[in-house]
């Protein structure tokens, strides 16, 4: 009996608490969808678990989005949206980006879709991804200074760029 989408939050947290204790900080909900807040240091193993283990098989990384909270500490978080095509589940993963390093472990080893998505996050937000095979700008010219999607970067740009 495959659990329904609405029940997976609790089941997942239980499964992860048993097999990867301490990896998940908490489970949150927004508009009926689950978001797992994951410890930054445990991100890669949690991601691999979610991708490979039954009955989850989140083999599809749909989206990767940094969020700049500006005045919050830590300032940035990255939100991943995963899909399990086999079981038709969707899940959000959230991880805080440490302010000192502004760096997260790369998930290119888990999902190849993370390659360009992480490059975009680096280009526009300045978040580094340790272990990424080719972390360089993707949208803006290579000699661009600054990370424009940060909320303290003016929309119309800075003079001299």
């Amino acid at each position: 009996m495959i659990p329904a989408q609405k029940d997976i939050g609790a089941l997942l947290t239980g499964d992860l608490a048993a097999r990867l204790p301490g990896a998940v900080r908490r489970l949150a909900h927004s508009r009926g969808e689950c978001y797992l807040h994951v410890e930054t240091a445990r991100l890669v193993e949690t991601a691999r678990f979610l991708k490979e283990e039954l009955p989850w098989q989140f083999a599809f990384l749909a989206n990767l989005s940094p969020v700049d909270w500006l005045s919050r500490v830590p300032r940035f978080e990255v939100v991943y949206h995963l899909r399990s095509l086999v079981f038709n589940y969707r899940l959000g993963l959230k991880v805080d980006v440490p302010d000192e390093s502004l760096s997260l472990p790369s998930l290119t080893g888990v999902w190849r879709a993370a390659d360009w998505l992480e490059r975009e996050a680096y280009d526009l937000f300045g978040i580094r991804f340790a272990g990424h095979p080719d972390l360089r700008r993707i949208m803006l010219p290579d000699d661009w200074e600054g990370h424009p999607y940060r909320r303290d970067y003016p929309l119309a740009g800075r003079a001299g760029e």
């Binding site: 803006l140 010219p141 424009p148 970067y153 929309l155 119309a156 740009g157 800075r158």
Partner: protein
Amino acid sequence: MGLIDGRFEKNLATDAVDTVLNLGRAYSLWPVAYGLACCAIEMIHTMTARWDLARFGAEVFRPSPRQADVMIVAGTVTHKMAPILRRLYDQMPEPKFVIAMGGCATAGGPFRTYSVVQGVDTIVPVDIYVEGCPPRPENLIRAFVLLQERVKRMTIAKVPRSPEPPVRIGAHGA
């Protein structure tokens, strides 16, 4: 026409040469295939069967700027794209013309951002501005016809002249 351009006062001979040259130029203006964004789709529509820009002389869109007369800048120009736009313009042989198609090419459109050039006229001289987002094919054809009339006013005679000011076609064809 370096050898004879601007050397003779306006006379019957220069008029005759003008008529022949301008007839040839005006009715065979070949655009560079330079679609950048959404306006490019309307440009393709203008080229296809219903509106058929080819009947005005734009028989083919040349991929190479060396073989083109007019550059229809259709779409948003970003700062990353700007040097390439300039290089393509420079590669076009004289006489060459530019039609800025759409809001983005005219003035940056709705994108007042760090990455968008606020008007292609900061990079290349523009002859005709066509407003719209995107402009209807009828407007682009009108721009083309106005450009043809402008070409027919060109002369090789030595006359005091300043470059003709650009023309703006509003979104409602005004």
